[in-house]
Amino acid sequence: MGNEPVPLNYLPIAIFAVIGAAFGIVSLLAGWLVRPHRPYRAKLLPYESGSPLFMDARVQFPMRYYIIAMLFVIFDIEIVFLFPWAVVFGKLGLLGLIEMGVFIAILVVGFWYAWKKGALEWE
Protein backbone atom coordinates (compact mmCIF):
# COMPACT_ATOMS: atom_id res chain seq x y z
CA MET A 1 0.00 0.00 0.00
CA GLY A 2 1.12 3.52 -0.63
CA ASN A 3 4.16 2.76 -2.75
CA GLU A 4 2.28 2.19 -6.00
CA PRO A 5 2.01 5.16 -8.31
CA VAL A 6 -1.00 7.25 -7.30
CA PRO A 7 -2.75 7.69 -10.68
CA LEU A 8 -3.20 3.95 -11.19
CA ASN A 9 -4.81 3.55 -7.77
CA TYR A 10 -7.40 6.18 -8.53
CA LEU A 11 -8.15 5.14 -12.09
CA PRO A 12 -11.42 3.33 -11.21
CA ILE A 13 -12.63 6.48 -9.46
CA ALA A 14 -11.84 8.59 -12.52
CA ILE A 15 -13.66 6.16 -14.81
CA PHE A 16 -16.60 6.15 -12.43
CA ALA A 17 -16.72 9.95 -12.40
CA VAL A 18 -16.62 10.15 -16.20
CA ILE A 19 -19.39 7.55 -16.60
CA GLY A 20 -21.48 9.26 -13.93
CA ALA A 21 -21.19 12.66 -15.60
CA ALA A 22 -21.81 11.17 -19.06
CA PHE A 23 -24.94 9.39 -17.84
CA GLY A 24 -26.49 12.60 -16.61
CA ILE A 25 -25.53 14.67 -19.64
CA VAL A 26 -26.55 12.05 -22.21
CA SER A 27 -29.95 11.35 -20.67
CA LEU A 28 -30.80 15.05 -20.38
CA LEU A 29 -29.62 15.67 -23.93
CA ALA A 30 -31.53 12.68 -25.32
CA GLY A 31 -34.72 13.75 -23.56
CA TRP A 32 -34.37 17.30 -24.87
CA LEU A 33 -33.86 16.04 -28.47
CA VAL A 34 -36.67 13.48 -28.45
CA ARG A 35 -39.52 15.14 -26.52
CA PRO A 36 -42.02 17.56 -28.10
CA HIS A 37 -41.73 21.23 -26.97
CA ARG A 38 -45.22 22.44 -26.01
CA PRO A 39 -44.95 24.28 -22.67
CA TYR A 40 -48.01 25.84 -21.09
CA ARG A 41 -48.65 27.30 -17.64
CA ALA A 42 -50.00 24.25 -15.84
CA LYS A 43 -47.13 22.18 -17.14
CA LEU A 44 -44.51 24.57 -15.74
CA LEU A 45 -45.85 24.31 -12.18
CA PRO A 46 -43.81 22.19 -9.78
CA TYR A 47 -46.74 19.77 -9.30
CA GLU A 48 -48.54 19.47 -12.59
CA SER A 49 -51.62 17.70 -11.23
CA GLY A 50 -51.43 18.79 -7.60
CA SER A 51 -53.03 21.69 -5.77
CA PRO A 52 -52.17 25.10 -7.24
CA LEU A 53 -49.44 27.16 -5.63
CA PHE A 54 -50.57 30.03 -3.46
CA MET A 55 -47.30 31.55 -2.29
CA ASP A 56 -43.54 31.39 -2.49
CA ALA A 57 -41.92 28.86 -0.17
CA ARG A 58 -39.20 31.34 0.77
CA VAL A 59 -41.05 33.33 3.43
CA GLN A 60 -40.15 34.52 6.87
CA PHE A 61 -41.39 32.29 9.65
CA PRO A 62 -41.30 32.77 13.43
CA MET A 63 -38.06 32.00 15.27
CA ARG A 64 -40.06 29.64 17.50
CA TYR A 65 -40.07 27.00 14.78
CA TYR A 66 -36.32 27.17 14.76
CA ILE A 67 -36.04 26.57 18.50
CA ILE A 68 -38.52 23.69 18.38
CA ALA A 69 -36.54 22.20 15.51
CA MET A 70 -33.34 22.50 17.53
CA LEU A 71 -34.96 20.72 20.47
CA PHE A 72 -36.13 18.04 18.08
CA VAL A 73 -32.56 17.53 16.85
CA ILE A 74 -31.32 17.09 20.43
CA PHE A 75 -33.75 14.25 21.05
CA ASP A 76 -33.19 12.82 17.62
CA ILE A 77 -29.50 12.46 18.40
CA GLU A 78 -30.34 10.95 21.75
CA ILE A 79 -32.32 8.25 19.93
CA VAL A 80 -29.45 7.70 17.49
CA PHE A 81 -27.23 6.84 20.44
CA LEU A 82 -29.88 4.93 22.37
CA PHE A 83 -30.68 2.39 19.64
CA PRO A 84 -27.20 0.87 19.18
CA TRP A 85 -26.75 1.05 22.94
CA ALA A 86 -29.94 -0.95 23.45
CA VAL A 87 -28.77 -3.60 20.97
CA VAL A 88 -25.54 -4.34 22.87
CA PHE A 89 -26.94 -3.54 26.28
CA GLY A 90 -26.52 -7.12 27.50
CA LYS A 91 -22.79 -7.07 26.87
CA LEU A 92 -22.22 -3.63 28.37
CA GLY A 93 -23.64 -4.44 31.79
CA LEU A 94 -23.84 -1.98 34.62
CA LEU A 95 -21.12 0.31 33.26
CA GLY A 96 -23.09 0.80 30.05
CA LEU A 97 -26.17 1.72 32.04
CA ILE A 98 -24.20 4.26 34.07
CA GLU A 99 -22.61 5.76 30.96
CA MET A 100 -25.98 6.19 29.27
CA GLY A 101 -27.27 7.71 32.51
CA VAL A 102 -24.45 10.27 32.37
CA PHE A 103 -25.20 11.03 28.72
CA ILE A 104 -28.90 11.55 29.38
CA ALA A 105 -28.15 13.63 32.47
CA ILE A 106 -26.07 16.02 30.34
CA LEU A 107 -28.91 16.21 27.81
CA VAL A 108 -31.41 16.84 30.56
CA VAL A 109 -29.40 19.84 31.77
CA GLY A 110 -29.69 21.27 28.26
CA PHE A 111 -33.38 20.49 28.04
CA TRP A 112 -34.03 21.91 31.48
CA TYR A 113 -32.22 25.07 30.41
CA ALA A 114 -34.36 25.39 27.28
CA TRP A 115 -37.51 24.81 29.33
CA LYS A 116 -36.57 27.43 31.93
CA LYS A 117 -35.78 29.94 29.21
CA GLY A 118 -39.28 29.49 27.80
CA ALA A 119 -38.38 27.69 24.59
CA LEU A 120 -41.47 25.47 24.95
CA GLU A 121 -43.96 28.28 25.49
CA TRP A 122 -45.75 29.10 22.28
CA GLU A 123 -47.11 32.51 23.22
Binding site: M1, G2, V6, V88, K91, L95, W112, Y113, K117
Partner: protein, 496 residues
Protein backbone atom coordinates in the same frame (compact mmCIF):
# COMPACT_ATOMS: atom_id res chain seq x y z
CA UNK B 1 -11.50 -4.16 16.29
CA UNK B 2 -12.89 -5.71 19.41
CA UNK B 3 -15.63 -3.92 21.18
CA UNK B 4 -14.99 -3.32 24.81
CA UNK B 5 -15.89 -0.68 27.29
CA UNK B 6 -13.58 -1.41 30.14
CA UNK B 7 -12.97 1.47 32.46
CA UNK B 8 -11.37 1.00 35.82
CA UNK B 9 -11.25 3.49 38.63
CA UNK B 10 -7.64 4.39 37.88
CA UNK B 11 -8.58 5.14 34.25
CA UNK B 12 -11.28 7.52 35.37
CA UNK B 13 -8.71 9.21 37.59
CA UNK B 14 -6.86 10.34 34.45
CA UNK B 15 -10.05 12.07 33.36
CA UNK B 16 -10.72 13.58 36.78
CA UNK B 17 -9.99 17.22 35.81
CA UNK B 18 -12.24 17.01 32.75
CA UNK B 19 -15.03 15.22 34.62
CA UNK B 20 -14.89 17.74 37.42
CA UNK B 21 -15.05 20.69 35.03
CA UNK B 22 -17.93 19.11 33.10
CA UNK B 23 -19.98 18.65 36.27
CA UNK B 24 -19.04 22.11 37.44
CA UNK B 25 -20.11 23.88 34.28
CA UNK B 26 -23.44 22.01 34.22
CA UNK B 27 -24.00 23.05 37.83
CA UNK B 28 -23.08 26.66 37.04
CA UNK B 29 -25.57 26.68 34.17
CA UNK B 30 -28.26 25.12 36.36
CA UNK B 31 -27.68 27.68 39.10
CA UNK B 32 -27.83 30.48 36.56
CA UNK B 33 -31.18 29.51 35.12
CA UNK B 34 -32.88 28.24 38.23
CA UNK B 35 -32.16 31.14 40.60
CA UNK B 36 -33.87 34.27 39.42
CA UNK B 37 -32.19 37.66 39.83
CA UNK B 38 -28.85 36.15 40.71
CA UNK B 39 -26.10 38.66 40.01
CA UNK B 40 -23.91 37.46 37.15
CA UNK B 41 -20.82 38.35 39.18
CA UNK B 42 -21.57 35.44 41.49
CA UNK B 43 -21.71 33.14 38.47
CA UNK B 44 -18.34 34.51 37.36
CA UNK B 45 -16.69 33.87 40.72
CA UNK B 46 -18.29 30.43 40.88
CA UNK B 47 -16.80 29.66 37.44
CA UNK B 48 -13.39 30.97 38.47
CA UNK B 49 -13.55 28.79 41.58
CA UNK B 50 -14.28 25.69 39.53
CA UNK B 51 -11.55 26.40 37.00
CA UNK B 52 -9.01 27.08 39.77
CA UNK B 53 -9.97 23.80 41.46
CA UNK B 54 -9.35 21.97 38.17
CA UNK B 55 -6.07 23.83 37.83
CA UNK B 56 -4.95 22.73 41.30
CA UNK B 57 -5.96 19.17 40.47
CA UNK B 58 -3.71 19.28 37.39
CA UNK B 59 -0.82 20.83 39.32
CA UNK B 60 -1.16 17.98 41.79
CA UNK B 61 -1.13 15.47 38.92
CA UNK B 62 1.99 17.14 37.59
CA UNK B 63 3.63 16.92 40.99
CA UNK B 64 2.72 13.24 41.38
CA UNK B 65 3.68 12.45 37.80
CA UNK B 66 0.32 10.86 36.88
CA UNK B 67 0.42 9.62 33.29
CA UNK B 68 -1.47 7.14 31.15
CA UNK B 69 -3.62 6.60 28.08
CA UNK B 70 -7.31 5.92 27.69
CA UNK B 71 -9.80 4.76 25.03
CA UNK B 72 -7.38 2.89 22.75
CA UNK B 73 -4.75 5.66 22.88
CA UNK B 74 -7.22 8.33 21.84
CA UNK B 75 -6.69 10.25 25.05
CA UNK B 76 -3.28 10.59 26.58
CA UNK B 77 -2.34 12.25 29.83
CA UNK B 78 1.37 12.98 29.95
CA UNK B 79 3.33 15.96 31.21
CA UNK B 80 2.96 17.74 27.87
CA UNK B 81 -0.82 17.38 28.08
CA UNK B 82 -0.79 18.57 31.69
CA UNK B 83 1.31 21.60 30.73
CA UNK B 84 -1.12 22.65 28.01
CA UNK B 85 -4.14 21.99 30.22
CA UNK B 86 -2.67 24.23 32.89
CA UNK B 87 -1.92 26.79 30.15
CA UNK B 88 -5.53 26.75 28.92
CA UNK B 89 -7.04 26.90 32.39
CA UNK B 90 -4.75 29.72 33.52
CA UNK B 91 -5.82 31.78 30.53
CA UNK B 92 -9.46 30.86 31.24
CA UNK B 93 -9.23 32.16 34.81
CA UNK B 94 -7.67 35.43 33.65
CA UNK B 95 -10.21 35.83 30.86
CA UNK B 96 -13.20 35.24 33.15
CA UNK B 97 -11.85 37.76 35.64
CA UNK B 98 -11.31 40.38 32.97
CA UNK B 99 -14.80 39.70 31.54
CA UNK B 100 -16.80 40.60 34.65
CA UNK B 101 -17.16 44.31 33.88
CA UNK B 102 -17.63 43.75 30.19
CA UNK B 103 -20.46 41.26 30.72
CA UNK B 104 -22.41 44.01 32.55
CA UNK B 105 -23.00 45.63 29.17
CA UNK B 106 -24.76 42.50 27.82
CA UNK B 107 -28.52 42.79 27.87
CA UNK B 108 -29.18 39.06 27.78
CA UNK B 109 -27.47 35.77 28.48
CA UNK B 110 -24.95 36.97 31.03
CA UNK B 111 -24.63 33.68 32.90
CA UNK B 112 -24.38 31.65 29.72
CA UNK B 113 -21.27 33.62 28.76
CA UNK B 114 -19.27 31.99 31.55
CA UNK B 115 -20.75 28.61 30.70
CA UNK B 116 -19.56 28.93 27.09
CA UNK B 117 -16.10 30.12 28.13
CA UNK B 118 -15.70 27.09 30.39
CA UNK B 119 -17.13 24.81 27.70
CA UNK B 120 -14.49 25.99 25.22
CA UNK B 121 -11.82 25.57 27.89
CA UNK B 122 -13.00 22.00 28.43
CA UNK B 123 -12.73 21.31 24.70
CA UNK B 124 -9.21 22.71 24.68
CA UNK B 125 -8.24 20.53 27.64
CA UNK B 126 -9.25 17.53 25.56
CA UNK B 127 -7.28 18.95 22.62
CA UNK B 128 -4.15 18.96 24.76
CA UNK B 129 -4.67 15.22 25.29
CA UNK B 130 -5.60 14.27 21.72
CA UNK B 131 -3.36 11.47 20.55
CA UNK B 132 -5.36 10.26 17.60
CA UNK B 133 -6.62 12.04 14.47
CA UNK B 134 -10.22 11.28 15.33
CA UNK B 135 -9.93 12.86 18.76
CA UNK B 136 -8.10 15.79 17.16
CA UNK B 137 -11.14 16.41 14.95
CA UNK B 138 -13.75 15.98 17.69
CA UNK B 139 -11.95 18.03 20.32
CA UNK B 140 -11.05 20.80 17.89
CA UNK B 141 -14.68 21.20 16.87
CA UNK B 142 -15.82 20.91 20.48
CA UNK B 143 -13.68 23.84 21.54
CA UNK B 144 -14.48 25.92 18.45
CA UNK B 145 -18.28 25.66 18.83
CA UNK B 146 -18.16 27.63 22.05
CA UNK B 147 -16.10 30.30 20.31
CA UNK B 148 -18.52 30.60 17.39
CA UNK B 149 -21.21 31.69 19.84
CA UNK B 150 -18.90 33.84 21.96
CA UNK B 151 -17.53 35.80 19.00
CA UNK B 152 -21.06 36.74 17.88
CA UNK B 153 -22.22 37.45 21.42
CA UNK B 154 -23.09 41.14 20.90
CA UNK B 155 -26.38 40.58 19.12
CA UNK B 156 -27.06 44.21 18.27
CA UNK B 157 -23.55 44.93 17.04
CA UNK B 158 -23.12 44.46 13.30
CA UNK B 159 -19.35 44.07 13.68
CA UNK B 160 -19.73 41.25 16.16
CA UNK B 161 -22.18 39.47 13.87
CA UNK B 162 -19.83 39.91 10.93
CA UNK B 163 -16.94 38.59 13.02
CA UNK B 164 -18.98 35.58 14.08
CA UNK B 165 -20.07 34.81 10.53
CA UNK B 166 -16.54 35.07 9.11
CA UNK B 167 -15.13 32.96 11.88
CA UNK B 168 -17.90 30.38 11.45
CA UNK B 169 -17.62 30.03 7.67
CA UNK B 170 -13.83 29.81 7.65
CA UNK B 171 -13.90 27.57 10.72
CA UNK B 172 -16.27 25.14 9.06
CA UNK B 173 -14.07 25.21 5.96
CA UNK B 174 -11.04 24.38 8.11
CA UNK B 175 -12.99 21.56 9.74
CA UNK B 176 -13.76 20.19 6.29
CA UNK B 177 -10.09 20.30 5.34
CA UNK B 178 -9.19 18.58 8.57
CA UNK B 179 -11.72 15.79 8.03
CA UNK B 180 -10.55 15.24 4.46
CA UNK B 181 -6.91 15.23 5.55
CA UNK B 182 -7.69 12.69 8.27
CA UNK B 183 -9.43 10.42 5.76
CA UNK B 184 -6.42 10.57 3.40
CA UNK B 185 -3.97 9.80 6.18
CA UNK B 186 -6.14 6.92 7.36
CA UNK B 187 -6.30 5.58 3.83
CA UNK B 188 -2.49 5.62 3.54
CA UNK B 189 -1.54 4.35 6.99
CA UNK B 190 -4.55 2.33 8.12
CA UNK B 191 -4.37 3.86 11.57
CA UNK B 192 -5.44 7.01 13.33
CA UNK B 193 -3.16 6.85 16.37
CA UNK B 194 -0.07 9.09 16.14
CA UNK B 195 2.41 6.65 17.66
CA UNK B 196 1.36 3.88 15.24
CA UNK B 197 2.04 6.08 12.19
CA UNK B 198 5.70 6.57 13.03
CA UNK B 199 7.01 3.91 10.67
CA UNK B 200 4.82 4.31 7.60
CA UNK B 201 6.51 4.86 4.24
CA UNK B 202 6.05 8.25 2.62
CA UNK B 203 3.50 8.76 -0.15
CA UNK B 204 1.60 11.52 -1.93
CA UNK B 205 -1.57 10.73 -0.03
CA UNK B 206 0.18 11.03 3.32
CA UNK B 207 1.81 14.32 2.32
CA UNK B 208 -1.45 15.85 1.05
CA UNK B 209 -3.35 14.55 4.06
CA UNK B 210 -0.96 16.07 6.57
CA UNK B 211 -0.76 19.27 4.59
CA UNK B 212 -4.54 19.61 4.95
CA UNK B 213 -4.39 18.84 8.66
CA UNK B 214 -1.65 21.44 8.99
CA UNK B 215 -3.86 23.96 7.16
CA UNK B 216 -6.71 23.33 9.59
CA UNK B 217 -4.43 23.72 12.61
CA UNK B 218 -2.76 26.72 10.96
CA UNK B 219 -6.20 28.30 10.80
CA UNK B 220 -6.58 27.68 14.51
CA UNK B 221 -3.25 29.27 15.47
CA UNK B 222 -3.61 32.03 12.85
CA UNK B 223 -0.42 31.40 10.90
CA UNK B 224 -0.01 33.00 7.49
CA UNK B 225 -1.41 31.97 4.93
CA UNK B 226 -4.40 30.79 7.02
CA UNK B 227 -4.78 34.02 8.95
CA UNK B 228 -7.44 35.86 6.92
CA UNK B 229 -10.16 35.56 9.58
CA UNK B 230 -8.01 36.92 12.41
CA UNK B 231 -8.19 40.72 12.06
CA UNK B 232 -11.94 41.06 11.50
CA UNK B 233 -12.84 38.42 14.05
CA UNK B 234 -10.57 39.91 16.71
CA UNK B 235 -11.89 43.37 15.95
CA UNK B 236 -15.58 42.51 16.06
CA UNK B 237 -15.66 40.03 18.93
CA UNK B 238 -16.26 41.20 22.51
CA UNK B 239 -12.81 42.19 23.82
CA UNK B 240 -12.53 39.48 26.51
CA UNK B 241 -13.44 36.87 23.88
CA UNK B 242 -10.72 38.30 21.64
CA UNK B 243 -8.29 37.92 24.53
CA UNK B 244 -9.35 34.31 25.04
CA UNK B 245 -9.24 33.57 21.31
CA UNK B 246 -5.77 35.07 21.03
CA UNK B 247 -4.15 32.73 23.51
CA UNK B 248 -5.94 29.56 24.60
CA UNK B 249 -6.75 27.92 21.21
CA UNK B 250 -3.24 28.71 20.01
CA UNK B 251 -1.77 26.82 22.94
CA UNK B 252 -4.10 23.85 22.51
CA UNK B 253 -3.53 23.65 18.75
CA UNK B 254 0.22 23.89 19.32
CA UNK B 255 -0.04 20.84 21.60
CA UNK B 256 -1.58 18.90 18.70
CA UNK B 257 0.99 20.22 16.22
CA UNK B 258 3.93 19.23 18.43
CA UNK B 259 2.48 15.79 19.06
CA UNK B 260 1.61 15.20 15.42
CA UNK B 261 4.92 16.28 13.91
CA UNK B 262 7.21 14.97 16.66
CA UNK B 263 5.50 11.61 17.13
CA UNK B 264 3.70 10.67 13.92
CA UNK B 265 5.96 12.37 11.38
CA UNK B 266 9.38 12.25 13.02
CA UNK B 267 10.75 10.27 10.06
CA UNK B 268 9.85 13.02 7.58
CA UNK B 269 11.49 15.84 9.51
CA UNK B 270 13.61 17.16 6.59
CA UNK B 271 10.38 17.75 4.64
CA UNK B 272 8.21 19.35 7.25
CA UNK B 273 10.95 21.58 8.60
CA UNK B 274 10.74 23.43 5.30
CA UNK B 275 6.99 23.86 5.74
CA UNK B 276 7.47 25.48 9.13
CA UNK B 277 10.34 27.67 7.95
CA UNK B 278 8.11 29.09 5.22
CA UNK B 279 5.06 29.48 7.48
CA UNK B 280 7.20 31.12 10.16
CA UNK B 281 8.87 33.62 7.83
CA UNK B 282 5.52 34.55 6.25
CA UNK B 283 3.74 34.92 9.60
CA UNK B 284 6.43 37.05 11.21
CA UNK B 285 6.91 39.33 8.25
CA UNK B 286 3.27 39.75 7.30
CA UNK B 287 2.06 40.19 10.90
CA UNK B 288 4.66 42.78 11.79
CA UNK B 289 4.46 44.82 8.61
CA UNK B 290 0.68 45.03 8.52
CA UNK B 291 0.53 45.79 12.25
CA UNK B 292 2.31 49.11 11.58
CA UNK B 293 -0.70 50.47 9.69
CA UNK B 294 -3.29 49.64 12.34
CA UNK B 295 -5.42 52.32 13.99
CA UNK B 296 -7.30 50.01 16.35
CA UNK B 297 -5.56 48.43 19.32
CA UNK B 298 -7.43 45.13 18.95
CA UNK B 299 -6.37 44.87 15.33
CA UNK B 300 -2.82 45.78 16.30
CA UNK B 301 -2.77 42.97 18.85
CA UNK B 302 -4.32 40.65 16.25
CA UNK B 303 -1.51 41.25 13.79
CA UNK B 304 1.09 41.17 16.54
CA UNK B 305 -0.41 37.77 17.47
CA UNK B 306 0.14 36.53 13.91
CA UNK B 307 3.76 37.65 14.19
CA UNK B 308 4.19 36.01 17.60
CA UNK B 309 2.89 32.74 16.19
CA UNK B 310 5.56 33.10 13.50
CA UNK B 311 8.12 33.20 16.32
CA UNK B 312 6.58 30.13 17.94
CA UNK B 313 6.79 28.25 14.64
CA UNK B 314 10.57 28.76 14.65
CA UNK B 315 10.59 26.19 17.43
CA UNK B 316 8.76 23.68 15.24
CA UNK B 317 11.05 24.50 12.34
CA UNK B 318 13.98 23.55 14.57
CA UNK B 319 12.18 20.28 15.18
CA UNK B 320 14.24 19.29 18.21
CA UNK B 321 13.62 18.73 21.88
CA UNK B 322 15.02 22.20 22.52
CA UNK B 323 12.62 23.56 19.91
CA UNK B 324 9.64 22.13 21.76
CA UNK B 325 10.95 23.42 25.10
CA UNK B 326 11.28 26.86 23.57
CA UNK B 327 7.72 26.73 22.18
CA UNK B 328 6.27 25.89 25.57
CA UNK B 329 8.27 28.61 27.33
CA UNK B 330 7.49 31.17 24.63
CA UNK B 331 3.78 30.45 24.87
CA UNK B 332 3.97 30.94 28.63
CA UNK B 333 5.61 34.35 28.25
CA UNK B 334 3.07 35.25 25.55
CA UNK B 335 0.19 34.23 27.83
CA UNK B 336 1.08 36.75 30.54
CA UNK B 337 2.09 39.63 28.26
CA UNK B 338 -0.82 39.18 25.86
CA UNK B 339 -3.57 38.70 28.44
CA UNK B 340 -2.14 41.58 30.46
CA UNK B 341 -2.23 43.87 27.43
CA UNK B 342 -5.79 42.77 26.68
CA UNK B 343 -6.80 43.41 30.31
CA UNK B 344 -5.60 47.00 29.91
CA UNK B 345 -7.53 47.28 26.63
CA UNK B 346 -10.67 45.89 28.31
CA UNK B 347 -10.26 48.22 31.29
CA UNK B 348 -9.80 51.30 29.11
CA UNK B 349 -12.47 50.16 26.63
CA UNK B 350 -15.10 49.67 29.35
CA UNK B 351 -14.72 53.28 30.36
CA UNK B 352 -14.14 55.20 27.15
CA UNK B 353 -16.05 52.79 24.86
CA UNK B 354 -13.34 52.89 22.24
CA UNK B 355 -10.46 50.71 21.12
CA UNK B 356 -8.84 53.26 18.79
CA UNK B 357 -5.14 53.82 19.41
CA UNK B 358 -5.77 57.58 19.15
CA UNK B 359 -7.82 57.36 22.34
CA UNK B 360 -4.78 56.06 24.24
CA UNK B 361 -3.26 59.54 23.91
CA UNK B 362 -2.02 60.66 27.28
CA UNK B 363 -3.07 57.51 29.09
CA UNK B 364 -0.24 58.20 31.54
CA UNK B 365 -2.03 61.34 32.75
CA UNK B 366 -5.34 59.54 33.07
CA UNK B 367 -4.04 56.41 34.78
CA UNK B 368 -0.30 56.01 35.39
CA UNK B 369 -0.85 52.43 36.55
CA UNK B 370 -2.55 51.32 33.30
CA UNK B 371 0.02 53.12 31.17
CA UNK B 372 2.95 51.56 33.04
CA UNK B 373 1.38 48.10 32.87
CA UNK B 374 0.72 48.46 29.14
CA UNK B 375 4.32 49.66 28.65
CA UNK B 376 5.69 46.55 30.35
CA UNK B 377 3.39 44.19 28.43
CA UNK B 378 4.22 45.76 25.07
CA UNK B 379 7.95 45.70 25.80
CA UNK B 380 7.69 42.05 26.77
CA UNK B 381 5.83 41.32 23.52
CA UNK B 382 8.62 43.11 21.65
CA UNK B 383 11.25 41.13 23.57
CA UNK B 384 13.09 43.71 25.65
CA UNK B 385 15.24 42.44 28.54
CA UNK B 386 14.76 41.80 31.43
CA UNK B 387 11.15 40.92 30.64
CA UNK B 388 9.73 37.48 29.89
CA UNK B 389 9.46 38.04 26.15
CA UNK B 390 13.23 38.46 25.89
CA UNK B 391 13.98 35.08 27.46
CA UNK B 392 11.29 33.47 25.30
CA UNK B 393 12.74 34.90 22.08
CA UNK B 394 16.29 34.09 23.15
CA UNK B 395 15.34 30.49 23.88
CA UNK B 396 13.59 30.06 20.55
CA UNK B 397 16.48 31.62 18.59
CA UNK B 398 18.97 29.37 20.36
CA UNK B 399 16.90 26.39 19.22
CA UNK B 400 17.13 27.74 15.66
CA UNK B 401 20.91 28.29 15.90
CA UNK B 402 21.31 24.68 17.04
CA UNK B 403 19.80 23.56 13.77
CA UNK B 404 21.73 26.14 11.74
CA UNK B 405 18.59 27.88 10.52
CA UNK B 406 20.38 31.16 9.91
CA UNK B 407 17.94 32.57 7.35
CA UNK B 408 15.09 32.10 9.78
CA UNK B 409 17.18 33.68 12.51
CA UNK B 410 17.95 36.73 10.36
CA UNK B 411 14.29 37.21 9.46
CA UNK B 412 13.34 36.82 13.11
CA UNK B 413 15.81 39.46 14.24
CA UNK B 414 14.74 41.95 11.58
CA UNK B 415 11.14 41.36 12.63
CA UNK B 416 11.91 42.16 16.26
CA UNK B 417 13.08 45.59 15.13
CA UNK B 418 9.94 46.12 13.03
CA UNK B 419 7.71 45.04 15.92
CA UNK B 420 9.55 47.40 18.27
CA UNK B 421 8.33 50.29 16.10
CA UNK B 422 4.60 49.71 16.33
CA UNK B 423 4.68 48.72 20.01
CA UNK B 424 6.59 51.92 20.78
CA UNK B 425 4.15 54.04 18.76
CA UNK B 426 1.49 53.03 21.29
CA UNK B 427 3.89 53.80 24.14
CA UNK B 428 4.64 57.21 22.66
CA UNK B 429 0.91 58.00 22.42
CA UNK B 430 0.41 56.96 26.03
CA UNK B 431 3.30 58.95 27.46
CA UNK B 432 4.02 61.93 25.21
CA UNK B 433 0.78 62.96 23.53
CA UNK B 434 -1.74 65.12 25.35
CA UNK B 435 -5.07 63.52 26.31
CA UNK B 436 -8.23 64.96 24.72
CA UNK B 437 -10.20 64.17 27.84
CA UNK B 438 -7.95 64.24 30.94
CA UNK B 439 -10.50 62.64 33.29
CA UNK B 440 -8.91 59.77 35.23
CA UNK B 441 -9.59 56.14 34.31
CA UNK B 442 -10.29 53.72 37.11
CA UNK B 443 -10.44 49.97 36.66
CA UNK B 444 -12.25 47.46 38.79
CA UNK B 445 -10.58 44.98 41.15
CA UNK B 446 -10.96 41.87 38.91
CA UNK B 447 -9.22 43.59 35.98
CA UNK B 448 -6.56 44.93 38.33
CA UNK B 449 -6.00 41.38 39.54
CA UNK B 450 -5.47 40.18 35.97
CA UNK B 451 -3.03 43.03 35.30
CA UNK B 452 -1.10 42.22 38.50
CA UNK B 453 -0.94 38.53 37.56
CA UNK B 454 0.24 39.50 34.08
CA UNK B 455 2.90 41.84 35.52
CA UNK B 456 4.06 39.23 38.00
CA UNK B 457 4.28 36.59 35.27
CA UNK B 458 6.10 38.88 32.87
CA UNK B 459 8.66 39.96 35.46
CA UNK B 460 9.23 36.59 37.15
CA UNK B 461 9.59 34.71 33.86
CA UNK B 462 12.05 37.37 32.74
CA UNK B 463 14.16 37.69 35.89
CA UNK B 464 14.04 34.20 37.34
CA UNK B 465 13.03 31.81 34.55
CA UNK B 466 14.87 28.76 35.91
CA UNK B 467 11.97 26.87 37.59
CA UNK B 468 9.74 27.46 34.54
CA UNK B 469 12.43 26.32 32.13
CA UNK B 470 12.91 23.19 34.24
CA UNK B 471 9.17 22.65 34.09
CA UNK B 472 8.94 22.91 30.28
CA UNK B 473 12.05 20.76 29.86
CA UNK B 474 10.41 18.09 32.00
CA UNK B 475 7.12 18.43 30.10
CA UNK B 476 8.74 17.53 26.77
CA UNK B 477 11.08 14.85 28.11
CA UNK B 478 9.51 12.26 25.81
CA UNK B 479 10.93 14.10 22.79
CA UNK B 480 14.53 13.88 23.96
CA UNK B 481 15.24 11.11 21.44
CA UNK B 482 13.48 12.87 18.57
CA UNK B 483 16.68 13.72 16.68
CA UNK B 484 17.97 10.15 17.06
CA UNK B 485 14.76 8.82 15.57
CA UNK B 486 15.26 11.10 12.61
CA UNK B 487 18.82 9.94 12.13
CA UNK B 488 17.71 6.31 12.29
CA UNK B 489 14.89 6.84 9.84
CA UNK B 490 16.77 9.00 7.32
CA UNK B 491 18.14 6.35 4.90
CA UNK B 492 14.70 5.00 3.94
CA UNK B 493 12.41 7.85 4.87
CA UNK B 494 13.26 10.71 2.57
CA UNK B 495 9.98 10.77 0.61
CA UNK B 496 6.63 12.28 1.61
Amino acid sequence: MTFDLVLSGSDLLLLAPEIFLTVWLCVVLAIDFSIKNLDHENIAYLSVGGVIATLLNLLWFDYLGVTGTLFHDMFVLDRLAIFFKIFVLLSTVLVILSSIDYVKSFRFFRGEYYFLVMMSALGMMFMASAHDLLSVFVTLEFSTFGFYVLVAYLRDDVKSNEAGLKFFILGVFAAGLLAYGVSLVYGETGTLVFSEMAHTPGSYGLAIGFLMIFAALGFKIGAVPFHSWIPDTYHGAPTPVTAFLSIAPKGAAMAILIRMFYVALAAFKPTWVLLFVVASILSMTYGNIVAIAQKNIKRLLAYSGIAQIGNVLIGLAAGTKRGSDAILFYLLTYLFANLGAFAVVIGVGNLIKSDEIEDYNGLNRRSPFLAAAMLIFLLSLAGVPPLAGFIGKLYIFVAAIDQELYTLLAVGLINIIISMYYYLVVVKKMYINEPVDPSPIRVSIPIKTVIYVGLAGTLILGIYPRPFIEWVVAATLMFSNVTDMVAAALPHGSGG
